[in-house]
């Protein structure tokens, strides 16, 4: 069967979840190479979404619908993909630090990463430092994301980074942080790899980071 990749991309941009799931299943059943489906169908769809979003032609509810479609399709595809096939779309552990109960921003960031094909493990709010470290040890993520919305809880992010160092796994992942009182300077100070001022830019910055660091 001939797979119409453009149609797949369009199902993503339009956020048509069920139809996309159907098409993805069909494509796999009829022997389409999963990596090709990902690279020619799904990812270009999400790239388009990113573009529209940055130009202000697409809004949060629409973007998240697309991200959900992408994530559902990835659930189907993932078992058929090798690590290499996945390219930059890896695994992410994400949470809000101890003492902090804000979660909307973190969740939006998580959804954007899912939209980029990431498998996102959202460990929730008010997570003690060990929870981040343990999740990192257990799940070996490519990206560790932390959120803090309070001046009083920001220091936890630096502590987690130190614990990652002590556990000898700091260099195995990129650490990205965000939240209203967080700044680029603060991220540099505590030795995070990335700071994203908003969920929209987070994925793009991460992609750029990996592109630079893998070359």
């Amino acid at each position: 069967m001939n797979i119409d990749f453009e149609r797949i991309s369009e199902l993503i941009t339009k956020g048509q979840i069920e139809q996309l799931q159907e098409q993805t299943n069909q494509a796999i059943e009829t022997g389409t190479e999963p990596a090709i489906l990902l690279n020619k169908g799904l990812l270009p769809g999400m790239d388009k979404v990113g573009q529209l979003w940055r130009n202000g032609d697409m809004f949060m509810p629409e973007v998240l619908r697309s991200a959900k479609a992408m994530s559902k399709a990835m659930d189907i595809l993932r078992p058929h993909l090798s690590k290499d096939d996945m390219g930059s779309a890896g695994k992410m552990v994400l949470g809000t630090v101890a003492g902090d109960l804000h979660d909307i921003g973190k969740d939006l960031a998580g959804m954007m990463f899912e939209g980029a094909g990431y498998e996102v493990l959202n460990i929730g709010i008010d997570q003690p430092n060990e929870a981040f470290v343990n999740a990192a040890i257990e799940h070996k993520p490519d990206v560790l994301g932390m959120s803090a919305l309070l001046t009083t809880t920001m220091p936890r992010m630096g502590e987690v980074i130190n614990s990652l160092k002590e556990s000898g796994i700091r260099d195995e992942m990129a650490v990205i942080i965000g939240g209203a009182p967080v700044t680029k300077e603060f991220a540099d100070e505590i030795g995070a790899d990335l700071y994203a001022p908003n969920a929209g830019s987070a994925v793009e910055l991460t992609k750029q980071y990996f592109a630079q660091n893998n070359s």
């Binding site: 202000g56 809004f59 949060m60 509810p61 109960l101 909307i104 921003g105 939006l108 001046t151 009083t152 809880t153 220091p155 209203a180 009182p181 908003n198 969920a199 929209g200």
Partner: protein
């Protein structure tokens, strides 16, 4: 004699009809009955278990009669008293008070023009300005004391920074129950004892649920402590429509009311008659920038509707206005702040906070506080409405001056022009005068006034003994948390 007269002593403004309020109220009761709320606090769960509520794990569902019973007990009037005894503030239906917001992480440094973290001195300065500016009736910290010795005790230091330079009533934020207890002890010292504080509290405690329908341990801990000591407290939902509440204003109002009503039952179970205040920062998540908007017109609309509901429930209302998403104090800031000042004032909410906020609740600006002073003046004037008694109808005068007459020199004008708003920083001069005075923009005048007040205004100070006693509470807290 005239019959069937209805005279509006002030401007009238209402968003919801009584039938609509009832729709929202009954819907909220249904939410509490069918969906319920989650509570992460042992004592609170026990209180509910020993009542007619249904508790499953952390989820509490509440029958409507418990809500109706609780609602009968809340005060319709609370009189706050500032550190200076003259600064009394009666919270009661349709009496409006304006005040700042709290805890802004950043500040524009007025010398370097750069954004930096907020410090103790910034909070002191905000306290000074709010003390000086007549349209502010209460103080919230404006900024957060980012240079406090320990994040776990910053609230005590922040309160200290507030009371140092300010003699008005306050609304305070706290880290947890223990923090609130320390603030209350400090408040009692200032008011002259626990009983005096109970009669005329210095402050209202600011507490929030987590929308949708979640109540975390620290928030409930504060609420129960406030109930125990009869400290006025607001439990103010901060939903973002479309993210943590339905994208419809009505749905958001239903959900936040359910959150408030849950708290009303909980406080009633703990200590009937505690002074609970209804609240709400009801706004939306901007779908382009994914920010929590302080400048959206929907904030004003939903807040005014919420105030309509509060009056119907006989609850004192804590609302929001004078705030903006603009990154700096510019035209956008003025437009947005004015919009929400206007509607919050007309709605008749009792404590309107966040006046002066810019950058959607993340940036502090002392100049913004000064600009809003003028804008509050304009708004209040509009609220006064039109007096139509015989003297104001001025029939006799019109007859007397006749066609082609003048009014400038009449006694009537001499007596009445002072009812108008007298501009302070607002410029109404002619072009040449404006140029002669240096062609200053509103921004220039605001800057000058800010500097002038910071340099020259002298707030009434506390005695050294009182200061020492307050400081001891801060120090003890720091030691406990070292």
């Amino acid at each position: 004699m005239k019959i069937n007269q209805q005279i509006n002593k002030s401007t009238q403004f209402k968003v919801l009809s009584e039938d609509q309020i009832e729709q929202i109220f009954f819907a909220s009761l249904e939410v509490l009955e069918q969906t319920g709320g989650q509570i992460f606090h042992e004592e609170a769960l026990t209180l509910f278990k020993n009542s007619n509520a249904v508790v499953n794990g952390n989820t509490v569902r509440i029958p409507p009669f418990m809500v109706e019973e609780a609602l009968n007990f809340y005060p319709r009037k609370i009189t706050l008293r500032g550190r200076d005894k003259k600064n009394l503030l009666s919270l009661q239906k349709d009496t409006v008070a304006f005040g700042t917001g709290s805890d802004l992480p950043f500040t524009y440094d007025r010398e370097t023009g750069e954004r930096r973290r907020t410090r103790y001195q910034d909070v002191k300065n905000a306290g000074k300005l709010v003390d000086a500016l007549s349209h502010y009736d209460f103080l919230m910290s404006h900024g957060i004391v980012g240079d406090a010795p320990n994040p776990q005790t910053y609230d005590r230091h922040q309160f200290m920074a507030m009371v140092e330079n300010n003699t008005k009533p306050m609304v305070v934020t706290s880290v947890d129950g223990e923090g609130l207890e320390d603030l209350w002890k400090m408040g009692c010292l200032i008011q002259g004892g626990e009983e005096e504080f109970r009669l005329n509290p210095l402050f209202v405690a600011y507490i929030e649920p987590i929308s949708p329908l979640k109540n975390d341990r620290t928030a409930v801990e504060k609420l129960l402590f406030a109930a125990e000591k009869k400290i006025p407290a607001m439990y103010t939902p901060c939903p973002s429509s479309g993210a943590t509440a339905p994208a419809t204003m009505a749905g958001m109002l239903v959900q936040s009311l359910a959150e408030t009503l849950l708290a009303s039952v909980l406080c009633h179970l703990k200590n009937p008659g505690m002074p609970l205040i209804m609240g709400g920062v009801t706004t939306l998540l901007d779908m382009k920038m994914s920010t929590y908007s302080y400048g959206a017109p929907e904030l004003s609309l939903a807040s005014a509707a919420n105030t309509d509901i509060s009056k119907w429930l006989n609850l004192i209302m804590f609302s929001t206005g004078g705030c903006s998403d603009s990154k700096i104090l510019d035209e956008q800031a003025a437009a947005e702040q004015m919009t929400s000042l206007f509607y919050s004032y007309l709605s008749g909410a009792n404590l309107i906070h966040d006046v002066g906020y810019i950058d959607h609740g993340t940036n502090a600006s002392l100049e913004s506080l000064v600009l809003n002073q003028e804008m509050m003046g304009l708004v209040k004037q509009f609220g006064k409405g039109i007096n139509t008694d015989d003297d104001h109808l001025a029939l006799e005068l019109i007859e007397k001056q006749g066609p082609g007459g003048e009014y400038v020199t009449t006694d009537h004008t001499f007596n009445h022009w002072k009812e108008w708003y007298l501009p302070d920083l607002q410029d109404r001069s002619d072009y040449e005068t404006w140029v002669a005075n240096g062609s200053k923009t509103m921004g220039d005048r605001v800057k000058e006034r800010t500097q002038d007040l910071l340099d020259n205004y002298q707030p009434k100070q506390m005695t050294q003994e009182l200061k020492q006693e307050l400081k001891k509470i801060c120090d003890d807290a720091d030691k406990r948390h070292a």
